[in-house]
């Protein structure tokens, strides 16, 4: 197992280097003079010379790449052109929203997708099965931004049950737990950044501080975006669970379990489902990329101040340090999570690590 983990870690390194390289090249592809786009159109050649010297733009490309890699590893993602603030700081403010949204969507997808898949497999070739699979096919074909807008129209405009956009209602402020508990932290330290990052998960923050009103409000705001974002993963997980369970239920050991007189319920749950879940675990890992991609569109539709909306605004304003920094961090996170999924998969299924 240790050997397998070490090998997988080793494989991840070239991919991470490649990610750095790709974002570096993309940033250099942008048309226009970086000096003028950052300092403004009126920057004189003399000013630009100093700027280029400071930013290392006069160095040869390999040196620039090395400088860039060094900065990223040290957590310095550059400054946003539009806000004149470190990209890393903006990320700390924005990432928690996206994490909350993606987690909620993944949770919903598992909660609905797995039971749907099981029911569908148990009632194979009945109208229940056909209905579920029609739902799954329509689900994977729906553009997430359209579904989001339709949900807003139905549940916010027509029925008025849930808020149409935003993270909290007007007048609601989430007080960070470290302020509630009177912790003394100095700003601009790593500890402060970390605490801020944690407390920006509003739902988590309000639950640990016992502020139920905020928690309820934040959850109400999260329902529609989470449903919109979860539809495609739900459909995929339902399909995967169904086909995997159908495959397993045809195996000999299921027949043996039935033959020894185990009740059908326990055959399905203890013998079938346990073995059928392995492919589903892989699919969940793969869905993370889809969730992050979908989050960009979902946040845009629901005006949520997450990574996605920031990215969208940065594209419109051609604020490239933000695009570059966000893409590097998200891609790195994506690679690391997939690594964890692979490792847990190997832990669950010994055949993989012996390959």
């Amino acid at each position: 197992m240790v050997q397998y983990v070490a090998r997988r870690l080793l494989y991840a390194i070239p991919v991470l280097i490649g990610i750095l390289l790709v974002t570096f090249i993309l940033a250099r592809l942008i048309p226009g003079d970086p000096c003028k786009s950052i300092l403004g159109e009126k920057a004189t050649p003399a000013v630009c010379e100093v700027f280029a010297e400071n930013k290392g733009l006069n160095e040869p490309m390999p040196v620039q790449l090395a400088l860039y890699a060094q900065d990223v590893i040290q957590g310095d993602l550059g400054d946003s052109i539009r806000f004149s603030r470190p990209v890393a700081q903006i990320l700390v403010e924005r990432l928690p929203m996206t994490i909350e949204l993606s987690t909620a969507a993944l949770f919903l997808a598992l909660l609905v997708g797995i039971p749907l898949g099981i029911i569908s497999a148990m009632k194979h070739n009945t109208s229940v099965d056909v209905g579920t699979m029609v739902f799954a096919n329509v689900g994977v074909s729906m553009p997430v931004f359209w579904l989001g807008l339709m949900l807003i129209y139905l549940f916010a405009a027509l029925l008025g049950w849930l808020p149409p956009s935003g993270r909290l209602s007007a007048g609601f402020v989430s007080v960070p737990f470290y302020e509630v508990w009177n912790w003394s932290v100095t700003e601009d330290t790593f500890r402060f950044t970390l605490l801020e990052f944690i407390s920006n998960h509003f739902i988590f923050n309000s639950i640990i501080t016992g502020d139920w009103e905020i928690a309820r409000d934040a959850i109400r705001h999260l329902v529609l975006p989470a449903i919109a974002l979860s539809t495609i993963p739900t459909a995929i997980i339902a399909r995967m669970t169904r086909s995997s369970l159908l495959d397993v239920m045809g195996r000999d050991y299921i027949r043996t379990a039935r033959a020894k007189g185990a009740p059908e319920r326990s055959v399905v749950i203890r013998h079938g489902l346990r073995n059928a879940m392995l492919p589903v675990v892989t699919i969940i890992g793969l869905q993370l990329g889809a969730l992050l991609s979908g989050a960009v569109l979902t946040e845009t539709v629901f005006s949520l101040a997450g990574v996605g909306t920031m990215l969208f605004e940065a594209i419109t304003a051609r604020d490239f340090p933000i695009i570059q920094g966000f893409v590097v961090v998200i891609a790195t996170g994506y690679v690391l999570v997939n690594l964890l999924v692979d490792i847990s998969y190997a832990y669950l299924d010994p055949r993989i690590r012996l390959e």
Partner: protein
């Protein structure tokens, strides 16, 4: 009824009997016959057929030009809801079966013409990604060694990004527009084709008929082109069909973010984006373009699934 007889009945209703009695057929003809037995596959083909015909005959089907506006016409205001005479809409008003958009253009005509952009995106991106990906995969799988390593590590890097995010970054760097969007989607989908092709080539190059050709003195290129690749293409056809669906969805998403097709070109994603703030007052302008996207994507997904089942020998024992 016992479990066995029910299973047997299923097999018979599944056409097992016909299959035993019929003449042996080639892979593609057999697959085609099996595809015609799958309801999903047929529905998918019908949907795609409708979309292709709509795209070809868009000028005939659409009552107006997609860019013609009706500002200043009598009885017409921007974002008017649908008006269908047959269903009782006042005859004095001009007929707009999906209403008018924010620039007082006929929504239906724009949706009809939008089918061209979506099908174009689907076809072009998949053709590009399919060709480049399968060539890279075939070369990597057939030659192996360092070439294999270099190609597949590059593919790993592309797969290291969430695909839609990488597409966003590429378009952001190259500048918005439908062509750049297509290019970006093609790039991010190359690795799936390369991986599948490589796996397929790896298993086929060890088969006896390839060894026989090699023994007869066929050159490496000849072996690859005439023996290995044609037999390795089967799984790629399925991925390609499903890829069209994915490409259409991604392109619509990019256009929704303002990175794909630019107004006034009729494209479903950008039509939706320009009216998204009007979802409370003019929901029809959000509803119809999205429905068109879903319908088209559903068609390709159904056909892809049907083809996978039809081509997979394991499912047809």
């Amino acid at each position: 009824m016992s479990r066995l007889s029910r299973k047997a009945e299923e097999l018979v209703s599944d056409g097992l009997e016909d299959r035993i009695l019929e003449e042996p057929t080639g892979l593609w003809r057999g697959a085609w016959k099996r595809l015609l037995r799958r309801k999903g596959g047929i529905v998918g083909m019908i949907i795609i057929g409708i979309m292709v015909l709509t795209a070809i005959f868009a000028d005939v089907i659409a009552p107006y030009s997609p860019t013609e506006d009706f500002i200043g016409e009598p009885n017409v205001t921007r974002r008017d809801g649908p008006c269908i005479h047959f269903l009782g809409c006042d005859e004095s008003r001009p007929q707009f079966i999906m209403g008018l958009d924010g620039n007082a253009r006929d929504e239906f005509s724009r949706i009809v013409h939008g089918s061209r952009a979506s099908l174009l995106v689907g076809m072009v991106t998949v053709t590009v990604a399919f060709s480049v990906g399968s060539i890279l995969g075939a070369v990597a799988g057939f030659w192996g060694g360092w070439l294999d390593n270099v190609i597949m590590r590059i593919m790993d890097v592309i797969l290291g990004f969430p695909s839609f995010l990488l597409a966003i970054a590429i378009v952001a760097a190259l500048g918005p527009g439908l062509t750049n969007a297509m290019f970006a989607i093609a790039i991010v989908s190359i690795p799936s084709y390369a991986r599948v092709m490589r796996a397929s080539v790896l298993s086929i190059k060890e088969m006896d008929f390839v060894a026989a050709s090699r023994a007869l003195g066929a050159s490496k290129i000849r072996l690859l082109v005439t023996r290995v690749v044609p037999n390795a293409l089967t799984p790629l056809v399925v991925i390609g069909t499903l890829g069209v669906a994915g490409a259409i969805l991604d392109a619509a998403g990019l256009s929704f973010l303002g990175l794909g097709a630019q107004p006034p070109d009729p494209e479903w994603g950008s039509m939706l984006a320009s009216e998204r703030n009007q979802v409370f007052s003019a929901p029809h302008l959000v509803f119809f373009p999205g429905l068109a996207i879903m319908f088209t994507v559903l068609g390709f997904n159904l056909l892809g699934d049907g083809m996978r089942d039809a081509l997979d020998p394991a499912l047809n024992e």
